[in-house]
């Protein structure tokens, strides 16, 4: 398995509180991603990073911010959690391989289950 650690694995928080999820990789991969997974929606991209301090928005970025100050760490912050952000959050990493980025697999962490009450 790719060396990806997500923390915490589970968290319950109250509406309006800030929450930060951490993704740590030991693979030195350039690209890192945050997805959320909800029933009936599959995995939806929140934000991604293509290098230190280089990030961009994904499909469902509203209410989320990210930071990447080191290659190995990608942080996802919910500034003021809402019940609609209750979900399972997955971090993923990838790197360019022969054939280009289109062939690159994503390697996922085991997810963080976040409940906002």
């Amino acid at each position: 398995d790719a060396g990806i650690t997500q923390s915490p694995r589970h968290k319950v928080t109250e509406t309006g509180t800030p929450v930060t999820l951490r993704c740590h990789q030991t693979e030195n991969h350039r690209y890192m991603y945050w997805y959320r997974q909800d029933p009936g929606h599959g995995l939806r991209l929140i934000h991604y990073s293509y290098g230190v301090k280089d990030t961009d928005k994904g499909e469902v970025s509203d209410g989320y911010s990210v930071s990447r100050s080191k290659t190995e760490d990608f942080l996802l912050t919910l500034e003021s959690a809402t019940s609609s952000q209750t979900s399972v959050y997955f971090c993923a990493i990838s790197e360019l391989i022969a054939g280009g980025l289109q062939n690159s697999p994503l390697h996922f962490g085991n997810g963080t289950r976040l409940t906002v009450t």
Partner: protein
């Protein structure tokens, strides 16, 4: 935003049966990947297809990319209980350089293989 539709959403079959899962879109993809996910874990890549009409086989699993690169299928022969899981298709397009890095996932097919 392109949409990847998977069907069926749920599939329950007996061990030994064959099955096919479909992934369809109105968009053209430069590549398409299939992942399998088990409870409490992240998805794991099964295969990547990049050429229209391409067929790849992994033991009892056969993956096909449509000629127009808008659809794909996963066929499992003689399903086993160990095949149980959530199967996700995911595609990349070349809308622009930034978006090419984004992988769009289908909503998944939950497969249950009964003993």
């Amino acid at each position: 935003t392109q949409l990847l539709e998977q069907s069926p959403q749920f599939l329950s079959i007996q061990e030994g049966e064959n099955l096919t899962v479909y992934c369809n879109s109105s968009s053209v993809f430069s590549s398409l990947q299939w992942y399998r996910q088990e409870p409490g874990e992240g998805p794991v890549l099964l295969v990547t297809v990049v050429t229209g009409g391409e067929v790849k086989k992994l033991k009892r699993l056969t993956f096909q990319f449509g000629d127009a690169r808008k659809d794909s299928s996963l066929h499992i022969t003689a399903a086993q209980t160990g095949d149980t899981g959530l199967y996700l298709c995911a595609g990349r397009t070349h809308l622009k350089s930034g978006s090419a890095r984004q992988l769009t996932f289908g909503s998944g097919t939950q497969l249950t293989v009964l003993p």
